[in-house]
């Protein structure tokens, strides 16, 4: 959620969302899409009747099961006989229009795209998607709103400061259509965990349908082979921060390889694993008395910054990587120039495959944080959803049709519909290998870039065809990291000040922290930066969240994993 951190979509590019959120914002960490539900004033998800959770029955059995804690199911091969989720197309004619960001090159056009046409046939309606290059999406959204030419389904990415007003004026309140047992009419939407739906409210109403992700974005990636060469076989074995610093020094060979690389997208210093090692709270800490402390204000944060400054001073940061693009950072990681980077866990599969291609001996693995003084570190519940879609206001019958379409696009892994939406038409867009895994053809690679996956989506399964090792590694990492995951107590709350000033405040903090890490100012500068942060809006944000917490009843509704 860093300021302008347009991190990529899919394949683990999280949170292009949040062009500017709050407090939270931490350009330093470049973190993911935990979410702020955006209400008019103080409100929390607890005020809203959320869709009743109904697990899907009769789907394909996974090789590694999903857990109640939120670990996603994993499949070694695609189910041999995908089941049909629908016996007849859910719609009978008409058109569903939508607007989504595009994070790839453009797909083949509708008329030359058999996959697109087959999806329309299976849905029973035309699907007209306006796909906008991700970086331009918010501009296009504002002109579309101003021109009053909104389509049926609109992806809402960044939280604009006036989002509550926008939602109330242009978008449908979904509470009467999806709240409680009404959701059962849309079984695929009802199978999305409550923890994700909690992030979809505003002003006491349900306004969004989520594009769910798997709870935690993890704690970065490390090269197990490089750690092992320096005497540590598994990051879980590291005993404390001092040992870790020694290890990073051991790995670093100036000019050849370094302990850590950053990128401008993650704040320059790949800070997330360090914050996790030191147990820094996820944005805010809520004490028993209902008081909030920003993570900037905690001793843990200060200790993490101090440690990163030591790592920098020891020359373990890859020189210049602070200004790099994410691609440059990943290249450095994959080619063994850096042993630790921060990128979102969903992107690990690609990093793993590329590194193995460059050198089969490479052993990238997700970093699981140890505790800085022994014990365990933490991870954050910061990847609950990728984006949310809102539906244009319309009469209930029309909205019911659009919801049916959303339900269709949320067809789960192992169904014919999921296969079609993700891999296109058999024979043309993909062929099945001997393990009945779909393999995209050259045409399929272009045809399947249509952004159906952003019109609503099921929870994500782990599926790396033909790569059992990678699948097991991902499953184990999710298991370990979700076990350590802490929630942001403000995740479903709204603070108008955070909406307005959050980005600027976060940027000022990350600038100050960058100076400390690089040794241009001393650690004491952190105290004055925090003081400035508080007086410039931090305290105001705190009081707004606290007011919201007291106003909301029951739980703090912050991304608790559900069954």
């Amino acid at each position: 959620m860093s300021g302008k951190n347009i991190v990529k979509a899919e394949l683990g590019r999280r949170s292009f969302l949040w062009g500017g959120v709050g407090v939270a914002s931490l350009a330093l960490t470049g973190c993911g899409s935990s979410a702020k539900s955006t209400a008019g004033k103080a409100s929390s998800a607890a005020d809203v009747t959320l869709p009743t959770f109904v697990p899907l029955a009769g789907g394909a059995a996974p090789d590694l099961p999903a857990t109640a804690a939120g670990v996603p199911a994993a499949y070694y091969t695609y189910p041999a006989a995908p089941v049909a989720a629908y016996s007849a197309p859910p719609l009978s004619g008409g058109k569903i229009s939508a607007m989504t960001p595009l994070f790839t090159s453009p797909p083949s056009g509708h008329d030359a795209n058999p996959a697109w046409q087959a999806v329309e046939k299976a849905l029973g309606a035309k699907v007209d998607i306006t796909m906008i290059v991700g970086d331009d999406y918010d501009t296009k959204l504002s002109t579309t709103v101003a021109g009053d030419s909104l389509p049926d389904i609109v992806v809402i990415t960044a939280d604009p400061a006036n989002l509550p007003g926008l939602l109330a004026a242009k978008f449908a309140d979904l509470t009467p259509l999806l709240g409680g047992d009404k959701a059962k009419q849309y079984p695929h939407l009802a199978a999305i965990p409550t923890a994700v739906w909690e992030q979809c409210t505003s002003a006491g109403k349900l306004y969004f349908i989520p594009i769910p992700r798997n709870i935690s974005a993890g704690s970065g990636f490390y090269r197990q082979d490089m750690f092992a060469a320096a005497g540590v076989n598994d990051c879980r074995d590291i005993k404390n921060a001092d040992d870790f610093l020694t290890l990073l020094k051991e790995i670093t060979v100036p000019g050849k390889q370094y302990g850590v690389a950053g990128s401008s997208g993650n704040g320059g210093f790949s800070a997330m694993p360090f914050l996790h090692i030191f147990g820094v709270p996820n944005m805010w800490r809520l004490d028993g008395g209902g008081n909030l402390t920003a993570h900037y204000e905690t001793d843990e944060y200060k200790a993490a910054v101090e440690f990163m400054a030591k790592v920098y001073k020891a020359g373990c940061y890859l020189p210049g990587s602070q200004g790099w693009t994410k691609n440059q950072m990943e290249d450095a990681f994959q080619s063994g120039k850096a042993a630790l980077i921060y990128d979102g866990l969903p992107g690990f599969g690609v990093a793993y495959q590329q590194a193995k291609k460059i050198s089969p001996a490479a052993a990238p693995a997700p970093f699981v944080p140890f505790g800085h003084a022994g014990g365990k570190g933490v991870t954050w519940k910061d990847n609950i959803y990728f984006a949310r879609v809102a539906l244009k206001k319309a009469d209930p019958a029309r909205l019911a049709d659009v919801l049916k379409a959303c339900d269709f696009f949320a067809s789960p892994f192992g169904t014919k519909e999921h296969m079609l939406l993700n891999f296109g038409v058999e024979g043309t867009d993909y062929t099945l290998d001997e393990n009945h895994n779909p393999v995209l053809t050259a045409q399929g690679k272009n045809d399947t870039l249509v952004t159906f996956k952003y019109l609503s989506a099921p929870t994500q399964a782990q599926f790396y065809p033909g790569q059992k090792d990678l699948t097991d590694l991902m499953y184990k990492s999710y298991t370990d990291e979700i076990a350590l995951a802490v929630a942001d107590p403000t995740a479903s709350l709204y603070s108008p000040t955070a909406g307005k000033k959050g980005t600027a405040l976060g940027k000022a903090m990350s600038d100050a922290v960058a100076q400390i890490i690089t040794g241009q100012s001393s650690l004491s500068a952190l105290d004055s930066a925090v003081k400035t942060w508080r007086s410039n809006g931090g305290d105001q944000i705190r009081s707004e969240y606290q007011q919201a917490l007291q106003g909301g009843t029951a739980s703090t509704a912050s991304g608790t994993p559900t069954k």
Binding site: K8, L102, G134, S149, K326, L440, T448, L449
Partner: protein, 283 residues
């Protein structure tokens, strides 16, 4: 004139060589990277100075599926038609405004200049285009920016600087304004028109923002916007299973977009240096 010293010549040569390297080296690296294999790119950590295993994979990826080819055609079309229309409109308007006897000419000129100072902003532009029914049409890429005030001023000043005797002579011979423009003014203005055409053409070739706002159908996208999606998005370009590395693809895309402009420049360059007016009066 004083003969330059040997030292001076040497220094100049050095400076020119340095400038040459500074200008050409980045272009060379772009080209080299676009031909590099994935392993080369990874080994070099991004940009490659010497592709050890040259390959055309990046270009294959870029041209796979015909999207870039189609966008190239769109861009050629928009650039060609747009430049012709823009130059025609600008020449006509500049000629009219260059005549001192035009009633209200000053007012019209001020209105045109006003647009150089105050930009109406994205949303009013969008609403105008929408109201005119141009959304989703190629006309939306050309008409809103048909006349650039800057180019208008350049042409008008040039026309005003032509000797008044030329106009008088033509009038005495019975020529009307249209004939004066086409037979007298334009033949003398080839250089400046070439320059203005180039400004327009480069503008149309590079424009992506209008297309992003006004064209919802991405099969209508011009090259600049398609390339933007390749360059800014950085990954997932071939939907996983990268055959070519992302950097190589991005650089291939840069090459594809730059080549046409590079090809056109040498032909127009002489107009930049040529003394356009020499001998016009003496005839």
């Amino acid at each position: 004139m004083e003969r330059p010293s040997r030292l001076g010549t040497g220094a100049k040569a050095l400076v020119i060589a340095a400038v040459f390297v500074v200008v050409v080296y980045p272009l060379y690296v772009v080209l080299a990277t676009s031909f590099s294999s994935e392993a080369d790119v990874a080994k070099a950590g991004g940009l490659v100075a010497w592709p050890a295993h040259p390959t055309l994979d990046a270009y294959r990826t870029v041209f796979n599926g015909g999207i870039v080819t189609r966008a190239l055609l769109v861009s050629f079309g928009v650039t060609l038609v747009g430049t012709l229309l823009s130059v025609a409109a600008t020449v006509g308007m500049a000629y009219g405004l260059s005549r001192r006897d035009l009633v209200g000419g000053r007012f019209i000129l001020l209105i045109a200049l006003f647009t150089m100072l105050f930009n109406p902003g994205i949303i009013p532009n969008f609403l105008t285009v929408k109201q005119l029914g141009l959304l989703g049409t190629y006309a939306a890429l050309v008409l809103p920016s048909l006349v650039s005030a800057f180019n208008l001023v350049v042409l008008r000043s040039f026309f005003m600087a032509l000797p008044g005797e030329l106009y008088e002579a033509a009038r005495l011979d019975g020529a009307g304004d249209f004939r004066i423009l086409t037979r007298v003014v334009l033949p003398l203005s080839k250089g400046v028109i070439a320059v203005v055409s180039l400004f327009y053409a480069v503008g149309y070739w590079n424009a992506f923002f209008n297309a992003m706002l006004y064209l919802d159908d991405n099969t209508k996208w011009p090259l600049a916007l398609v390339l933007r999606s390749f360059v800014t998005q950085g990954d997932a370009i071939s939907n996983g299973e990268g055959i070519a590395s992302t950097q190589a693809i991005q650089m291939a895309v840069v090459v594809v977009s730059v080549v046409p402009i590079v090809l056109v420049y040498p032909f127009l360059q002489r107009y930049f240096t040529k003394g356009v007016l020499s001998g016009a009066v003496k005839g």
